[in-house]
């Protein structure tokens, strides 16, 4: 048997391990410190991007711009809303040149704070008018459709209602998941209010709550809960399922259904804008053009199964519902007061 080590020996051993780790930290920093942007050469002029999209969802698009323009792109990744709040606090002092938002409300908030510059007409012309800011401060890059996801082992597609209004039927009691705190759900409710009015929307929300709709923090957790069989159907964005099928294979138990009726589905935009405070606007505009190029648009739709929004871009073949069949809410995207009203409505109805 090994004799027990003394107190001091053990402490010293632990400290030695620790010191070694700290030493490693020094080395680690020297190699990793300037990663993320790609190139290490400081003399290459570059732009700074605040991205609400994770590296895997934007990397190749950034790489292709860097290669073509011989410019470095430094990217800060964080939650879209956190970045929007950061931009507002930074004001004119922001180091960012471009903001790529994952959710529509965030870029509207930044635009409303007067922080985004008007984009050149050739960029605006790349995107149909319904996918961009009427005042030209941001453009949509990709679209994500609100859909009903379901567990295909438990639910037949033919059972599903023509719109989420049908999910308040007794048949769906305690079987539906949603994410009232997520901005995508709030966008959807805002669109419902614009189309059907506050009373009808509130009635639906209350019926959903009474019918035992289960609240999740976000789309991913709803998807996983459907896959595990915790719930049978859920209101989510379409591409989360496509991604999981890509990872897990065709046996993945969750499928998506585009409800055909009324506002059954709704297109939510990821969007990009250039900061008014940027002193590299030409480069920033060039980067936005690159995101809307055929190549980048093809990357977005093939990798994340989102709808490409630039004119002439073709959606991934797996997206069976054509892009123009999915309605866009025209009023809600730019008006934050509408979102505030939505939140109040959701709070009154007990959904939030």
């Amino acid at each position: 048997m090994i004799p027990p080590l003394s107190q001091r020996t053990r402490l010293l051993a632990a400290l030695a391990v620790f010191a070694a780790l700290v030493l490693l930290a020094g080395c680690g920093f020297s190699t990793e410190g300037s990663s993320g942007g790609g190139s290490n050469e400081p003399d290459v002029e570059g732009i700074t991007l605040y991205s609400g999209r994770i590296p895997a969802a934007i990397g190749p698009a950034v790489d292709s711009y860097e290669a073509e323009a011989d410019r470095d792109v430094q990217v800060r990744f964080a939650e879209t809303a956190d970045l929007a709040a950061t931009l507002v606090e930074e004001g004119d002092a922001s180091p960012a040149d471009v903001f790529f938002a994952q959710e529509p409300g965030a870029i509207a908030a930044v635009a409303e704070a007067g922080l985004l510059t008007k984009l050149p007409q050739d960029i605006l012309d790349r995107v149909p008018a319904r996918y961009r800011d009427p005042e030209g401060r941001w453009v949509g890059v990709t679209g994500r459709a609100r859909v009903i996801a379901y567990n295909k082992d438990v639910v037949e597609e033919s059972e599903l209602p023509p719109s989420p209004f049908g999910l308040t039927a007794p048949k769906w009691k305690d079987r539906v998941g949603w994410s009232p705190a997520s901005s995508s759900m709030q966008e959807y409710v805002t669109a419902l209010r614009a189309k059907y009015g506050d009373d009808r929307t509130k009635q639906w929300l209350e019926e959903m709550v009474d019918n035992g709709a289960v609240s999740f923090p976000d789309n991913v957790t709803i998807r996983d809960a459907i896959a595990k069989g915790e719930i049978d159907v859920g209101l989510i964005n379409h591409y989360y399922v496509a991604q999981a099928i890509g990872e897990e294979g065709p046996d993945y138990p969750v499928a998506v259904y585009f409800p055909p009726g009324g506002l059954g589905s709704l297109m939510l935009l990821t969007s990009v804008g250039v900061l008014e405070s940027s002193d590299r606007k030409p480069e920033a505009f060039a980067f936005v053009r690159s995101l809307l190029s055929d190549r980048s648009q093809a990357f977005f739709t093939s990798s994340s199964k989102e709808y490409p929004l630039a004119k002439g871009a073709k959606p991934d073949p797996s997206l069976s519902v054509p892009v123009n069949k999915i309605p866009v809410s025209d009023s809600s995207l730019v008006d934050l007061k509408e979102i505030q009203g939505t939140i109040e409505l959701m709070q009154e109805s007990g959904a939030l």
Partner: protein
Amino acid sequence: MARTRPAPVWLLAAGAIVGAAAVLPAAYLAVVVFGDFSAAMETALSSRALETLLRTAALTAAVVAASVALALPIGWLTVRTDLPGRRLWAVLCTLPLVIPSYVGAYLLVAALGPKGMVQDALGIELPSIYGFFGAWLVLTLFTYPLVLIPLRATLRGIDPQLEDAARAMGRGPLEVFRSIVLPQLWPVIAAGSLLVALFTISDFGAVSILRFDSFTSEIYIAYQSSFDRVAAAALGSVLVVAMLGLLFASSRVRSARRVHRLGPGTLRPTRPYRLGRWRWPALAFCALVVLVAFVLPVGVLIYWASKGISTGSTSWDTIAALGGNSLLIAVWAAAAGAIAALVVAALAVRYPSRATRAIERLSHAGYALPGILVALGLVFFATRAVPALYQTIALLVFAMTIHYLPLAIGPTASSLIQLSPRIEEAARGMGRGPAEVFRTITIPLARGGVMAGAALVFLHAMKELTVTLILSPIGFKTLATDIWTQTTYGFYEASAIPALVLLAVAAVPVYLLSEQGAAPP
């Protein structure tokens, strides 16, 4: 006892600097709130805010009570009894602290949730993990070591003479514990409970995954959905006020208790209590806690990691670089936190006055706030006052330090309380100046507490996410940000390896912390 002298000017100045730094996030809230005072008051005083506050208070009380209920028996068993393998149990029972609450929450959902691994394996239905119960369970399991660590250190340092005397007078072990030991433990229980309570009110990761509408959820709704910075700041200010209330309650428990030894000489080791056949239930208790709070979540991680490795999605070079960055930040934050805490604690313990107490209380402000408000506060001030430092390592370390400062103040203050001021007074009497006494007497003798505080800051800085994402130099990634990147899209297998590396690195200071409890003070 001698009357307290006025604090030396240099120490007061240092304390004022620390206090001013720590109060920056709260000052930012004040700037925003006073920018639109009536709107802010409408939010802060709404019935909804009040309801949520009460709900959060109930959760906090429950988490604190359960943390003490776990830490007290575990601390006593691993320090004062002949529990088999007590050193090992001490380490194992402290380890849950390394698990970030957001990771712990999704791991427990994966393990214990509906259709989770345990239900699948056992084929039985467990009670729902979501809501109050789940949030209570997760926050208790992953924060109770904040009570356990100082408790063990103090149990070690308690003078056995009183107990021996009581025992000699015929009192039973329970009676001795209640009348002699427990009163001496209240100050550290209060200090540890304060940290648990502040963690609970500021946590967002665990409560959101477990679907408990906490006060932080309201803050996130305010700025993530409606981008209403006034409402978010108003709600954040409510948390600062709640923190002051908690501090007041905790200081009532801690105040006016003389806990340093009075007798001369060194500590005599106490004879451990014989557990006899009670050791079986004692072992079962420790094993159950370790099983749920550590083995289960780490088991899920290892399972995911094995799937992640088999799909070959991991680059060890990347992991090493991420680990290096995490360590770099954590080590600097720990060092800065230890120094700042020593200043604050020395002032509050040795020179109690209105001013020093104010500095101590204000130093807790950064810990009561969710990370996003700390980050935004520093964005606000740094871009205006020191743009050259904005989004640098220095600013990130500064932010971590003020965010986690109270973690270091607690143990440092406790060790200063245990250290009799008479030693310092004797040194003063022999003609040494206050600065020299501080350097040659106070710091070396309070070393244990200072190290424990540094280790706690280190641990939390390793796990920190939101502040790092916003304030780090651009392109700077850590283990925690990598875990976030992966889990945002539900790539749990890919997140398991950085998570395990994070746990392994963070386990080193945890080991030191539990040895701290075992070492003589």
